[in-house]
């Protein structure tokens, strides 16, 4: 046999397609998740994996309303200081241990006390949590907190097996044991996370996928190519510029949902010496900057029309949006007049941003738009860790920053606009805003909260510590043989009802 025959045989051997199993779903993620321990995890993408791995006390539906999951119902006392939750019966963890009040108390306490826990601030309002029945837990709060149920609809409310967590300690993420529809099989960092169907799941009848493999593919072009070649069946967050391609391909399906987050620019108002620059000092200049931006044009050019123009921390589609302050069209004359009013002709502004292509393109558009109003913006593109550091230490005049969004409005504003907020890198401080945000957090009456958030939105869209300009949609592409998939505003991939035919 010559080398030619050998090579041909080898090549032919290679060409046999590697057919997947019938209900073996491969999902391409944008990034590699960090630790798979709900107490320690930080990454957004990690939450997508948890949606299949770890059930929470509460879930949200497609309208961002809270619905039962491990807790079947809950009630808050009149003074807002007690939250009582009744738990689902007959739920077991992946290791066969029962999910009950004890397990919930253990998990919440672990989230509040584990040295490595990142859930402490989310549960800061909780004084103690007790089992008040075999399937009932009572949270006692230090002060009323309307956002607690929302926190329990995320990582803080993912209940883990006490036995497994006790044995693994801080290393729980290496082999997570939860009560979700799929159980952990293996993880190879930067390569794959494999889960398989948990037969004893409380709602197993609604899950039709046997095995899920999450593969991180950071490049969006490559993610899409993998979908089109059939190597993956569902793609997390396709690029806006690819949306039309996916929609036009009969062999692919497409789904989208308006996110809960926002895109904006921070202005350093009180964080160190850089706050003394004109933008930080003059409200009129910030308003001029905001007015000079054509938000819809950015949506059309950068996001191929898939995003939403915006001006408040929540999208215009949200029930919390203040409809009396709609997104204004670009008003360059008024912007120029405001700049003149501030007593200057042209203003030099330095703006730092993350060096990814979409952000860079957005910023170049904004740079050109505001130049017409008299702003000479120098863009400094930097990688993310440096940007974060600059932002938190006040080493910036303006920065471009995104927020992925939370289901409860409190999670989208309190930490940014409250003078003591952990993410308030602008060091914006307004006692009136503090009072409104604290009041809205303490109230459990939706109408009262809405009134307070409306008043808050009126103030911050006038003072503009953050110039919000839009809201992204989460876009998904999947193979046409995948049915039952729905996009959610929180961008979590929920596999309930999803079927895959080969």
């Amino acid at each position: 046999m010559t080398w030619k025959t050998l090579a041909t045989t080898a090549l032919a051997g290679c060409l046999f397609a590697f057919a997947g199993q019938a209900a073996d779903l491969r999902i391409a993620l944008q990034d590699d998740p960090d630790m798979l321990d709900p107490a320690q995890s930080r990454s957004f993408v990690g939450r997508i994996v948890y949606a299949s791995l770890c059930d929470k006390l509460v879930d949200i539906n497609e309208n961002v309303e809270f619905v039962p999951m491990l807790a079947t119902d809950w009630s808050t006392s009149d003074d807002g200081l007690k939250l009582v939750m009744n738990l689902r019966e007959g739920v077991t963890f992946h290791d066969g241990e029962p999910m009950n009040a004890e397990a919930v108390v253990y998990t919440i306490t672990r989230n509040m006390t584990l040295a490595e826990s990142r859930r402490k601030s989310e549960l800061a309002s909780v004084d103690k949590v007790e089992a008040t029945g075999p399937l009932q837990v009572t949270f006692t709060l230090k002060k009323p907190d309307a956002s607690l149920v929302a926190q329990l609809s995320d990582r803080a409310g993912m209940i883990v097996s006490p036995k497994a967590a006790e044995a693994a300690g801080a290393n729980f993420g290496a082999n997570p044991v939860c009560a979700g529809p799929f159980k952990f099989v293996e993880r190879i960092a930067q390569d794959r996370i494999v889960l398989e169907k948990f037969a004893d799941y409380w709602d197993a009848g609604n899950f039709h996928i046997d095995r899920v493999t999450f593969t991180p593919i950071p490049d969006s072009t490559v993610r899409l190519a993998n979908l089109r070649s059939g190597d993956v069946q569902l793609v997390d967050r396709i690029a806006a510029t690819d949306a039309a391609t996916v929609q036009g391909d009969a062999s692919l399906g497409y789904a989208e949902a308006v996110g809960l987050g926002s895109m904006g620019m921070y202005v350093n108002i009180g964080n160190g010496d850089n706050a003394q620059k004109p933008m930080g000092q003059s409200k009129a200049l910030r308003q001029a900057f905001s007015m000079a931006i054509d938000r819809e044009a950015i949506n059309q050019v950068v996001f191929s029309g898939t995003a939403l123009a915006g001006n408040q921390p929540w999208p215009p589609t949200s029930p919390w949006y203040n409809k009396d302050i709609p997104v204004q069209p670009r008003d360059i004359e008024k912007a120029k007049a405001l700049v003149k009013e501030a007593g200057v002709d042209r203003i030099a502004v330095t703006l730092k941003h993350h060096n990814n292509p979409v952000v860079t393109q957005t910023m170049q558009m904004i740079q050109a738009m505001v130049a017409e109003a008299g702003f000479d913006v120098s863009l400094i593109s930097t990688e993310f860790a440096t940007l974060l550091n600059n932002q938190s230490t006040g080493d910036y005049e303006m920065t471009r920053s995104d927020w992925s969004g939370r289901p409860d409005p409190d999670g989208n504003v309190h930490q940014f606009y409250h003078s003591k907020g952990g993410l308030n890198d602008m060091k914006y401080a307004n006692p009136e805003v503090d009072a409104l945000l604290d009041g809205a957090r303490a109230s459990s009456d939706p109408a009262e909260r809405k009134a307070k958030y409306d008043a808050f939105a009126a103030i911050v869209t006038d003072e503009l510590p953050i110039i919000t300009f839009g809201h992204q949609k989460f876009l998904y592409g999947f193979t046409a043989t995948l049915t039952g998939f729905e996009a959610y505003p929180d961008a979590m991939i929920r596999l309930k009802g999803v079927k895959l035919d080969n």
Binding site: K120, A189, T215, S229
Partner: protein, 315 residues
């Protein structure tokens, strides 16, 4: 020979120490705080302070350095801040992947580059030489990421012959492993083959002009015997050094290709670690790469001696 190898290994120790000092202190100059970078959207000052203390970032740098080197000397490279996995385990997972990629890429580069280089040298300044040089220039100029994406679109999306990306260990499934690796290896190997071609060509041209080649021809040896038997053996020495260096470079330098084909390799590990300021991983990976480089150079030197008997007397 043994003494030669032992001497070279002893010299490696101070080199590695120097590398460790460089990598440790240079990355501390990077702006950005690892704890902040890891915190992402959840920034609670109290938790951040606790974490900083827990991972020893509050200690003076020399103390941190000594603690790290002392642990590294016993084989403990620390724990990844991002995933919580031991660094040594991460390296153990990623290194074989990149070695497989590098070996396959170099294999392709060698098969393409060396024969083409010999051919170009023999046909120098004639049409064949020009054609080969043109191809080499093209191969060098095509960016890896472009070639990679084009190949994926052609071979995986349109023809559906090979998987678009991913990685399968050869121990798990050899055929599938080769199948997933062949495209990235071709992408990496194309550029490298041009480098090898040019070195082979110039080295061969130098040797072909020498007296002993003229003698060999004068003795009436066939063209093939002169080129392959006499000239190539001498000309191949610098090419081997180059190959060893290229191999070392590939260990950490195949990042773009790894990124496009989603190969969980060494390059991707270090890039992700730098971006998240995962110090322990960066340090561990750089130290291992340095050690690998030193080892490969040693191997190249030994091969030199084996291929060129004249050098043996100098040991």
């Amino acid at each position: 020979m043994h003494i030669f190898i032992a001497k070279r290994l002893l010299v490696a120790i101070p080199t590695l120490l120097l590398v460790s000092v460089f990598v440790f202190f240079l990355q501390k100059l990077l702006p950005g705080d690892p704890i902040l970078a890891l915190a992402g959207e959840e920034r609670d000052p109290v938790v951040l302070a606790e974490l900083r203390e827990r991972y020893g970032f509050n200690d003076p740098l020399p103390v941190q350095y000594v603690r790290w080197v002392a642990a590294a000397a016993t084989g403990d490279l620390g724990i990844s801040l991002r995933t919580g996995q031991p660094v040594l385990e991460l390296i153990g997972q990623k290194l074989p992947v990149t070695i497989q990629l590098a070996v396959m890429a170099l294999g392709i580069a060698f098969l393409l580059g060396v024969p083409a280089g010999i051919y170009a040298a023999v046909r120098q300044r004639r049409l064949g030489d020009h054609a080969v040089n043109f191809l080499a220039l093209a191969a060098l100029s095509v960016p890896n990421f472009w070639l990679g994406i084009m190949l994926i679109l052609l071979v995986s999306v349109n023809l559906q012959w090979l998987p678009a990306s991913g990685y399968v260990s050869p121990w798990e499934n050899l055929a599938l492993s080769l199948k997933t690796m062949i495209m990235p290896a071709v992408v990496l190997g194309t550029g490298l083959s041009a480098t090898l071609l040019r070195h082979t060509r110039s080295s061969m041209m130098g040797v072909l002009k020498s007296d002993y080649i003229r003698t060999a021809r004068a003795k009436g040896l066939s063209g093939q015997a002169v080129v392959l038997g006499h000239a190539f053996r001498n000309a191949v020495l610098p090419v081997i050094t180059l190959t060893a260096l290229l191999f070392g470079e590939l260990l950490a330098g195949a990042v773009l290709t790894e990124q496009i084909f989603t190969i969980p390799g060494f390059g991707k590990l270090i890039v992700d670690a730098v971006f998240t300021r995962d110090y322990a991983v960066v340090q561990g990976v750089v130290l291992c790469t340095a050690a690998g480089f030193i080892l490969l150079n040693l191997v190249a030197d030994v091969l030199y001696v084996l291929l060129n008997p004249r050098l043996r007397s100098q040991l």
